[in-house]
């Protein structure tokens, strides 16, 4: 079991309005319909609210760049929650 994956999956389902979403670490933005800049920021705000954390500008940007995956997001999330 991957820590925080279930919670993150809940946020994804809410933001993308799709209850069928099942997160896998290797998934990228290309695996989700309509993941554009606005959807990305909306997702980041929803994650911040759900986990009570704040992302830096560069972190939000990094999570949208090519090569970034759900696994990258989980790693950053875990690091943020560990620092709290």
């Amino acid at each position: 079991m991957i820590p925080y994956r279930e919670e993150l999956q809940g946020v994804f389902r809410e933001v993308f309005g799709d209850d069928a979403i099942v997160l896998r670490p290797e998934m990228t933005s290309a695996d989700f319909d309509g993941w554009d800049s606005l959807q990305h920021v909306t997702l980041m705000i929803a994650i911040e609210t759900r986990f009570n954390i704040r992302f830096a500008t560069a972190e939000i940007s990094r999570l949208k760049t090519e090569g970034s995956t759900v696994g990258t997001m989980l790693e950053l999330l875990r690091a943020k929650l560990a620092d709290r």
Partner: protein, 401 residues
């Protein structure tokens, strides 16, 4: 000196031949020397040198303070002063309504200032948010800002990517094939600028015998300008990027790509993810995201409305950043209109048919082709506002219809 010159291209090839034979500290000195020589050809007078120094050193200094003790008010105040200085230095026409004309008659000319501004804002903001650690020396920062490969027109490289190379400048091409590919990229860039973009520019000049004067009576020539001018802008900038990305890679410096077949975009949101990518990403990170986040946190129920507002603010700023005349305002607002329309259309599909309808819509090849053709023509139309002369022609032609 520009990058599409014999001295730049063959100078880069020549230095690259022995660059990696030198010890690492000497590689850095060679890079600094090359950047300094390049800059020397671009700065016209002593007042420009002094202003450039003040511009850059102030950015590093403020970043140093906010990195040690984060202060939103200090950063906001500094960015306001920086933007005001930028507007004066670039001699924005609108200033004539607010300040004495004498202020705008200064002799200062700094090539690449617009890109330095973006890098500086990124550096100060990221420093305060603890994303640039350890904090660099002024020397490294100046090398980042004045790098000969990104000085004139980008791509807008982020500081941490530059520093990774600076600390360990090693070859990125492991074999002869990679090296030849990089050299070919540079030469293709030269061809794109001098032949392809040059040809498109000639077509535009033929259609507009005297730039600035409306002499366009023939519909054929309207079409020529409609397609040739965007092609000129695209191939000229693509060629520039091919040269600097290819040449930088010979020194081991990996620059971000700026284009990804923009005229194959299926809507204007997609288009801005493919056209001048590093600019789009910068605007997304330092204008759109903070503004949208701040607004939505206050009133989450108004998220869709705020998104539209942020599109207009972000692309309006992107427009006026390109130039100091009113046509760039129109350019920015037209692009914002296109982006907002694409988002509203997507929301409409989601509201009426749900996620499945959006998926079917995005996967339909016929819709994809029509959407791409429509986006291409809309993007070409917005390009008519990329120079004051063509903006006049575009408006006059629309009115005549």
């Amino acid at each position: 000196m520009t990058v599409c010159t014999f001295s730049f291209v063959f100078g880069a090839f020549f230095v690259a031949m022995f660059f990696f034979l030198l010890p690492v500290p000497l590689r850095r000195w060679i890079f600094t020397l090359a950047s300094a020589l390049f800059l020397w050809t671009l700065v016209p007078n002593l007042s420009s040198w002094a202003t450039l120094a003040a511009f850059l050193v102030s950015g590093w200094g403020v970043a140093y303070f906010v990195a040690r003790k984060p202060s939103k008010s200090l950063l906001t105040g500094y960015l306001a002063v920086l933007l005001a200085a930028f507007v004066v230095l670039k001699k924005y026409a609108i200033l004539r309504y607010f300040v004495a004309g004498r202020i705008l008659e200064h002799p200062i000319g700094i090539v690449g200032l617009s890109f330095m501004l973006f890098r500086q804002i990124h550096f100060t903001v990221d420093s305060m948010e603890g994303q640039i650690q350890p904090f660099p020396s002024l020397w490294v920062y100046l090398n980042y800002q004045l790098s000969l490969f990104t000085l004139l027109s980008g791509p807008i490289q982020r500081f941490n990517d530059f520093r990774a190379w600076w600390e360990d400048p090693r070859p990125v091409h492991q074999d002869r094939h990679g090296l030849l590919w990089a050299i070919l990229r540079v030469l293709v860039g030269v061809v794109l600028i001098s032949l392809v973009a040059g040809f498109c520019q000639k077509l535009v000049h033929r259609a507009l015998p005297s730039i600035g004067v409306l002499r366009m009576k023939d519909c054929f020539w309207v079409l020529v300008v409609f397609y040739a001018f965007p092609a000129y802008v695209f191939f000229n900038f693509l060629g520039y990027c091919e040269i600097v990305v290819g040449a930088a890679s010979l020194f081991g410096l990996k620059l971000p790509e700026n284009f990804n077949r923009p005229f194959f975009a299926r809507n204007m949101i997609d288009y801005w993810g493919r056209w001048h990518i590093t600019l789009s990403e910068w605007i997304r990170d330092y204008v759109f995201t903070p503004l949208y986040t701040a607004l939505v946190r206050r009133r989450p129920t108004h998220a869709q409305f705020f998104a539209m507002v942020c599109y207009f603010v972000a692309l309006f700023l992107a427009g006026v950043w390109h130039g100091a005349t009113l046509n760039f305002v129109a350019f920015g607002l037209l692009n914002a209109l296109g982006v907002a329309a694409a988002k509203l259309w997507e929301i409409q599909i989601l509201n009426t048919g749900g996620r499945g309808a959006l998926r079917r819509y995005l996967q339909s090849p016929r819709i994809g082709m029509l959407a791409t053709i429509a986006t291409f023509h809309f993007a070409c139309f917005t390009m008519m506002f990329f120079t004051p002369d063509l903006a006049l022609v575009a408006i006059a032609h629309l009115l005549r219809r």
